[in-house]
Symmetry: C2
Subunit: 136 residues, 2 copies
DNA sequence: GTAGATGCAAAGTATTTGCGACAAG
DNA sequence: CTTGTCGCAAATACTTTGCATCTAC
């Protein structure tokens, strides 16, 4: 089991308010990639007084501290997911919107190589695959 | 030499207005990846009466017809570039914002493989590398 | 001639921010 | 205590749209 978001906040010196604890909890329990609006909905069910501004501020803060990852899939609004040790990329079903997480070491290595070829050190990357389900 | 944007419009049955011709010309001559505002600036120098709404409408139209590609790099606004036969991905210098275009067949093939592994046919993808220049 | 394009200004989205009240460390 | 956070509403940034007019074909 990896660190909880609350533990990460303490480790990184991020002040833990009630609102942040709730947002952390909701994100921890999410198995999907909610956008801010959806996150706000879920959070509101626990504490209806939390404002959407706080949700925006918190996801931004958590992203800066490497606690959440922000994704901007094609033409969609920003979505968030918890970040942990296992890096992965996304395969998006263009029909249903379903998101599949995958890992491919080979691609990861090639990316580093490409960056190096141009004299760069890779600090980040974004790989998204868009596909349609095959009728098998 | 590949088809001009105007030729593509004719081939695809896209009505060619004066405004569209100017936007086509500016994009053809661009060696960078301008956002709508920047494109509007350039276009305005040729015809100051063109409205930004038309620029938005036109890039959207061109994108739908596969004439322009839209990119949404990390935290940045939407940028456009002309689309031609040679597909490429982008390596972004996180310090300077410089954008380097690259092609890597091996990565392309692996992407298809990953999609297939999950039962999908790859219809599109997005690969962006973010790097810092190495002090060599 | 007619369907579709344009310019304008107004309306939409998504997100950020100023400010006074409030709470965590 | 003090610094940073919260809620609220207003502001901002980007993009789309309704409508009357105009234009490419």
């Amino acid at each position: 089991m990896s660190e909880t978001i609350e533990q990460k906040c303490i480790a990184k010196g991020v002040k833990l308010t009630d609102q942040r604890k709730i947002i952390a909890k909701v994100m921890s329990e999410a198995n999907d990639h909610p956008d801010v609006d959806e996150l706000y909905n879920r959070v509101s069910k626990i504490d209806s007084k939390i404002s959407i501004a706080t949700v925006y501020r918190t996801v931004k803060l958590f992203e800066e501290f490497g606690i959440l990852a922000k994704h901007e899939f094609k033409g969609d609004k920003a979505r968030y997911e918890t970040l942990n040790e296992s890096h992965h990329d996304h395969l998006i079903d263009v029909k249903s919107g379903e998101i599949i997480e995958f890992v491919d070491e080979e691609i990861e290595n090639l990316q580093k190589k490409v960056a190096e070829k141009y004299g760069y050190e890779l600090v980040d990357h974004k790989l998204e695959l868009y596909g349609v389900k095959k009728k098998s």
